[in-house]
Amino acid sequence: MRDFLLLLADNTQILGHRLGEWCGHGPELEIDMAMTNLALDLVGQSRNYYQYLAELEGKGRTEDDLAYLRDAREFRNCLLVEQPNGDFARTVARNFLFDSWHFFFLQALCNSNDERLAAIAAKSLKEVTYHLRWSSEWVIRLGDGTEESHRRIQDAFDHLWTYRGELLTPAPFETEAASAGYGVDLHSIKPLTEDKLADILYQATLRRPEDGWMQSGGKTGRHSEHLGYLLAEMQYVQRAYPNSVW
């Protein structure tokens, strides 16, 4: 349960942080606000998981300890969410790849035999519905837009494709979670996310990149170099001023 909760918490926490980096840098005010609102939802969701884990542990650790006082090797998030923002197209493609998986994952998690997880999933799903809608609309708009926007979003998908495999490949603790009934069988949601992806890429006049060799390791703590830099910023205050509070 511990690793499974960390996977959910770290995915949403790290992607939330990445989106927060856009604050004040969005290409338009409305997009800037949308991305920070998405960030707010994701960080809120990660808090639910961290709080639950802290309670289960019963060691007196808090949600803040879990977010701010672990090192990169202890994070269980997928490699996809820690990838740098790049240009706006890169961010949109990363979010769409994540959202088109996250939405169906949460739908399945609503049937978890763990009541608390099912409740968090049902709550999160309402928010993630809008996330998927937002990123889908932008993939279509950029893909079916100008020559330059089409080129950039296609480049973004080509670049990020290698991180997609990890979303649908279960780590041992996920297989265990699925068979114990509190997790999600990733094979069952694969066709749903594939269909969504195919539909949106088609509408966006984009080419589905070839499935080649896929990166993996995030779920077991082997991350890309980007996570370390991200944590250095995200955890700075707690590391520099231990135990400081608002």
Binding site: E30, I31, M33, A34, N37, L38, A39, L40, D41, L42, V43, G44, Q45, R47, N48, E115, A118, A119, I120, A122, K123, S124, L125, K126, E127, T129, Y130, L132, R133, W134, S136, E137
Partner: protein, 202 residues
């Protein structure tokens, strides 16, 4: 970014101690606590407070928002321990801490010192709980209320036609999926040309 209204502390603890207090009073006091983001709506309009549990001399009484059950049961502010269950609108909503603090302040003003506010996620909050009276208040305030039932399948890629809260025209367009807060989208009326917030179905 967030304007905060500190509620006026209504009532006077010296007076209320003498009067008999019952559960309906608790609800009436909570009715004065507003959503800091949308100050025309109270936390009861929003359906944020789900129920109150009162422990008084070992006796437990539960009062639900729906129907305000056990409204006539008396409560003694000096002994009673109150547990107020709230549900967040959005998981990351920064107003929730403020709302919890305002609930405790309001009840403290009426002599209740032992008040705990606890979050519940199940059932998940939905805009379907906002009654017509509150939708009317939203329109008056310049925010278009949710247009349909919050059903996940329909939310995805369905375009709703939103009525302008100022001129009632349905000739409006969406400018941005996310407006001033996570719960609102930004729209523009193509007849009166005013931009306005739309409270999204959730």
């Amino acid at each position: 970014m967030y304007s905060v209204l500190i509620p006026t502390l209504s009532g006077n603890s010296m007076n209320t101690k003498i009067q008999q207090v019952c559960i309906s009073d608790l609800w009436n006091w909570l009715e004065t606590v507003v959503d800091p983001e949308i100050p025309v709506l109270t936390i009861l309009d929003m359906g944020i407070v789900r129920r109150i549990e009162i422990r008084d001399n070992g006796q437990l009484t539960i009062s639900d928002l729906e129907g305000r059950t056990n409204a006539n049961v008396p409560v003694n502010p000096e002994n009673a321990r109150l547990l107020v269950f709230v549900t967040p609108t959005y998981t990351g909503c920064p107003a929730m801490n403020m709302i919890g603090a305002h609930i405790r302040l309001e009840l403290a003003a009426h002599g209740f010192s032992d008040v705990t506010v606890r979050e519940v996620l199940q059932p998940a909050w939905t805009t379907d709980w906002i009654p017509e009276s509150a939708r009317h208040k939203l329109r008056e305030y310049g925010i278009a209320p949710p247009e349909q039932e919050a059903r996940i399948e329909r939310l995805l890629f369905s375009e709703v036609s939103v009525t302008c809260p100022r001129c009632q025209s349905r000739n409006t367009e969406k400018l941005a999926e996310y407006g001033s807060t996570a719960c609102k989208a930004l729209y523009r009326c193509k007849d009166c040309l005013e931009p306005f917030d739309y409270f999204k179905c959730h």
